[in-house]
């Protein structure tokens, strides 16, 4: 059993995977479709631990070229529970972008709850 939460982002393309492959502490897995099915070009999921959340946040900002965005990030808890967090970042936000995104991924509200 894993000892800490794992944060997961879906829908990463092969190009993005190549660009991220030199980053430490990131694991990739191909998104599966049923055996024998054919479909969209392969995409991957990124999996990081808390230690690499800044890499994930930087990637999200780079992916959206610094523009406002909304993305779903999963938190897979050690007990198997999965929580889906909607990360919503607006360009006009007064907080430091990476810190703001990391807080949202971890489910920390602006009131610190």
């Amino acid at each position: 059993m894993q000892s800490e939460s794992i944060y997961v982002l879906h829908g990463v393309t092969k190009r993005e995977k190549m660009q991220l492959s030199s980053e430490p502490d990131i694991k990739f897995e191909e998104e599966e479709i049923p055996d024998g099915a054919i479909g969209e070009p392969a995409t991957f999921i990124i999996m990081v631990t808390m230690a690499a959340l800044s890499t994930l946040a930087a990637y999200l900002l780079r992916k959206h070229k610094g523009e406002s965005f909304e993305e779903d990030v999963e938190e897979r808890l050690p007990d198997g529970t999965v929580k889906i967090r909607k990360v919503k970042w607006t360009k006009s936000s007064s907080e430091a972008p990476e810190a703001d995104i990391i807080k949202q991924i971890q489910g920390v509200t602006s009131l610190g709850k």
């Binding site: 190549m18 049923p34 392969a42």
Partner: protein
């Protein structure tokens, strides 16, 4: 499910990016978001290819083999050989056709546009309806859809999807996407020089799909029971390789006219499957010498009958699955959701999402009055007679259908319908059944032989044809670079690759490269200089100049990409 797919075994489509729970009404009124357009075009094209005689034959042989394995296992050597032959044929055919399947779907995403032809492909007609239907455009629907497509194709979603594609490996043994796409583009670009009709990309795709999937000779090979696994592999690969390679050698002048007329008047080949379990028609417009003679007709009916008699004895639910897959094959599943439903005291059925009513109509009697609970909703598009229906099931059994026009699906048609959850469950059982075979020593040897045979032939068939304008002496180096990371291997630069994508989208969508809209995308770039830079790199590695800038129209011509 994070990736959309189509399953060839049942022709079931799952569009993960379409959330029916929140978008049921948008789907029903034809107001889908353009965000879903690329993946919609992709999967609808797969579904359309499998709604064909070849797609039907593939389902018949695989379901026959897997249903036997699921219920009886391997009874004797003779039976094992027959099952192994069908399994190997199914897998070999799909493997060797996969670059065409992906190539056509990607062509639909990036290049499909209607032109002068009087006929329109199913991916275009259904997409126009699903994305612009709500605007009530009447006979302007297709023109508006075309204009919309031309603009959407230079938006971030499409540019980014196409850029991702060009990073894909060109090696068919690793991935079918890029090689398949460039192969289809090469066929299109060559054949349109000889026949004006093929300048209509929609017509080309329609014709090519029929050339491959309405091919009754391939159906004959698939259904044949008098062959062994090894011969089946060789026969199928050789047949498909010849058919694919011959496309550019054939004289299409007569068949183009015949094809257009047959589609227009719906007078192609109407073949009827009829036994005590099912009566249905397989419509096709074969190209070339393909036809259904008495011998093939007998074989097809026998194999379908065998399927039903076997299944009826063994697992009753399989009968419904087979009826749905064969008799209702053209029905396109668009989404599934569990929703709240209420039947009022006056017998009015309403479907809700978050307490907002989405659809309502008179409830069937069996639902009773004054009832509330959860139901399953599946949205399907039925091509003939055209209609979009929401099928309501309770406990997995379809009970009624709703449509905006007020039309209801007949009881008979409704009984053919199986909700997607059940079909995916059946696929999983049938796929699981092959495990018995996978541990068999002989079967393993057949599979290894098939996989080696495919490996040897597949790149020669698709990659060589895709690089049709490349000088022979440059091919090995081009393969070396492109097998690893596609066209990125040639450009080795993200910005140049994006420019290449944009130039190719401008070209295939007949856009003005210097329009105001595109100026924002070509930020600070001189179009002519960019084209020169791209051409120099392509020439260095592939030996031809791909793009030409046509000054008068500010258009870009592309030879391949």
């Amino acid at each position: 499910m994070p990736r959309s797919f189509t399953h060839p075994l049942t022709n079931t489509v799952v569009l993960d990016k379409l959330d029916i729970t929140t978008h049921l009404a948008d789907v029903m009124i034809g107001g889908l978001s353009t965000k879903v357009l690329p993946v919609f075009l992709h999967e609808v094209t797969h579904h359309w290819c499998f709604s064909s005689p070849v797609g039907t034959a593939l389902s018949i042989i695989a379901i026959d083999a897997r249903a036997k394995l699921a219920t009886m296992g391997i009874s004797d050597e003779l039976e094992k050989e027959k099952i192994a032959t069908d399994e190997i044929k199914y897998n070999t055919t799909l493997s060797i056709l996969q670059p065409i399947l992906e190539g056509l779907s990607l062509f639909a995403e990036f290049d499909l546009l209607t032109g002068d032809s009087q006929i329109v492909s199913l991916p275009t007609s259904i997409s126009a309806l699903m994305f612009l239907g709500r605007q009530n455009l009447g006979d302007k629907l297709l023109d508006n859809f075309k204009a919309g497509l031309q603009l959407y194709r230079v938006t971030t979603d499409f540019i980014s999807r196409k850029t991702d594609l060009l990073y894909d490996s060109f090696d068919c043994n690793k991935s079918s996407y890029l090689a398949g796409y460039l192969f289809i583009k090469s066929q299109f670009n060559v054949v349109k020089r000889s026949y004006d009709q093929f300048n209509d990309a929609d017509f080309f795709m329609h014709y090519y799909r029929s050339y491959i999937f309405d091919d009754w000779e391939l159906v004959r090979l698939l259904l044949d029971t008098e062959t062994s696994p090894i011969y089946a592999v060789e026969d199928i690969i050789e047949y498909i390789a010849n058919r694919v390679s011959n496309f550019l050698q054939l004289d299409h002048s007569i068949s183009i006219q015949k094809f257009e007329n047959d589609v227009l008047t719906q007078t192609g080949c109407r073949y009827k499957i009829q036994n005590k379990w099912i009566i249905c028609e397989v419509f096709s417009v074969p190209i070339g010498e393909c036809e259904v003679d008495d011998k093939l007709s007998e074989l097809l009916n026998k194999r379908v009958s065998d399927l039903f008699s076997f299944s009826a004895k063994e697992i009753n639910s399989m009968v419904y699955l087979i009826q749905a897959i064969i008799g209702f094959r053209g029905a396109l599943h668009l989404g599934h959701a569990e929703l709240k439903a209420k039947v009022s005291k006056t017998g009015w059925l309403s479907i809700y999402n978050n307490d907002l009513p989405l659809l309502a109509q008179q409830a069937p009697e069996e639902m009773g009055l004054d009832w509330a609970g959860m139901v399953e909703a599946d949205i399907i598009y039925v091509p003939q007679p055209t209609g979009l229906y929401t099928i309501i099931s309770k406990d997995g059994i379809p009970i009624t259908s709703l449509s905006l026009s007020g039309k209801k699906m007949g009881k008979n048609e409704l009984s053919y319908f199986l909700n997607s959850k059940k079909v995916l469950g059946a696929i999983s059982i049938l796929n699981g059944a092959t495990k018995v075979l996978e541990s068999d020593k002989d079967y393993k040897e057949y599979c290894e032989y098939a996989s080696e045979f495919i490996k040897i032939n597949i790149n020669n068939l698709y990659c060589l044809n895709a690089l049709i304008f490349t000088k022979d002496e440059l091919i090995p180096k081009a393969y070396e670079k492109m097998f690893e990371s596609g066209l990125y291997g040639i450009f080795n630069n993200d910005d140049l690759l994006s420019d290449c994508v944009l130039a190719s989208l401008i070209s295939s969508n007949y856009l003005n490269a210097k329009s105001e809209k595109l100026k924002d995308i070509w930020v600070n770039k001189n179009v002519e200089e960019t084209i020169d830079e791209l051409n120099n790199i392509i020439y260095k590695h592939l030996g031809f100049y791909n793009f030409a800038f046509l000054e008068e129209a500010n258009a870009i011509h592309s030879n391949l990409l």
